[in-house]
C-alpha cells in the first residue's frame, strides 16, 4: 500500500460528509502530502473522482475491499 501522511475514517457517513471531511483534512496537510480515506458510501467512489478532478488534488488510488472503499488523495501544490 502506498504511504500516507494522514488517515480519515469516513465509514458510516453519507453524502456529502465524506467529501466535506476530506476537504477539511486536506486543509491541515501541506501540498504533496497524502490523505487516506476510508468510506462505506458507494456514492463516494464517483464523488472522490469528481472532487479530485475539480480541485486539482490527485486521486492516487481508489479501491474496494469487503464493502469498504479506500482512497488516496495527494494534496495539490
Amino acid at each position: 500500500m502506498p504511504e500516507h501522511d494522514q488517515e480519515l475514517d469516513a465509514r458510516g457517513l453519507n453524502c456529502p460528509l465524506p467529501i466535506l471531511r476530506a476537504k477539511k483534512a486536506l486543509n491541515d496537510l501541506t501540498s504533496g502530502q497524502v490523505l487516506r480515506i476510508l468510506a462505506t458510501d458507494p456514492g463516494s467512489v464517483k464523488d472522490f473522482e469528481a472532487f479530485a478532478q475539480q480541485t486539482g488534488n490527485e486521486l492516487l488510488e481508489s479501491t474496494e475491499k469487503d464493502g469498504e472503499f479506500h482512497f488516496l488523495l495527494r494534496k495539490a501544490g
Partner: protein, 159 residues
C-alpha cells in the same frame, strides 16, 4: 482555478427540502466555489436559531412509507393529527441510521466554509419574524442583494 460561483434561492421550510440547499452549498464550497444562499418565504425557517423542521406525508404521494403503508393507507389518513410528527420522527431516525448529516450539522459546515447566507428582509417583515430568532451568521437583504452576487454566478438554483 478562478473561483466559480454558486447562487441558491431557498424557498422551502420542510425537513426534506432543507437538504438540497445545504448539501449543495457545503459541497460547492469544498470544491472551491464561492457560494451564497438567499433564504426567502418558508426558506427562512432554515436560518432560525432553533430549527423545528418537519416533513409531511400530506399531499406528498412520492413519500416512501414504511411497511407499504402508502399502498393501503387512505390519503385522508395522512391528515390525522400527529401524522406529521410521526413521519418526522421516523424520517429523523432513518437519517441517523443511514449516516446522513443533520440539517444543523450541514448548516454549521456551510457557516464554517464561509457560505454567504442572506435572509430576505421583506419576508422577515411580512411574517413578523424577529432578527434575534435567526442565527447570527447571516446578513439581511433584498432581491438586488441577491443579484449583486448571482449576476455573474456560474450556477444558479431555485429550490
Amino acid at each position: 482555478m478562478a473561483d466559480k460561483k454558486l447562487a441558491i434561492i431557498a424557498t422551502k421550510g420542510t425537513l426534506d427540502w432543507a437538504y438540497p440547499p445545504f448539501i449543495l452549498a457545503s459541497t460547492a464550497s469544498a470544491l472551491g466555489y464561492q457560494t451564497c444562499i438567499f433564504f426567502t418565504f418558508y426558506g427562512l425557517q432554515l436560518i432560525k436559531k432553533k430549527l423545528d423542521l418537519k416533513v409531511s406525508p400530506l399531499g406528498n404521494p412520492g413519500m416512501p412509507m414504511p411497511m407499504g403503508m402508502n399502498k393501503w393507507f387512505p390519503v385522508l389518513g395522512t391528515t390525522i393529527p400527529g401524522m406529521e410528527s410521526m413521519m418526522t420522527t421516523m424520517m429523523k431516525q432513518k437519517i441517523k441510521a443511514k449516516g446522513v448529516a443533520t440539517i444543523e450539522e450541514l448548516r454549521d459546515l456551510c457557516i464554517e466554509a464561509e457560505v454567504r447566507l442572506v435572509g430576505c428582509q421583506m419576508t422577515i417583515d411580512l411574517f413578523d419574524m424577529k432578527r434575534e430568532d435567526l442565527i447570527d451568521n447571516i446578513e439581511l437583504g433584498g432581491a438586488a442583494t441577491f443579484f449583486e452576487f448571482a449576476g455573474d454566478a456560474d450556477v444558479t438554483l431555485f429550490i
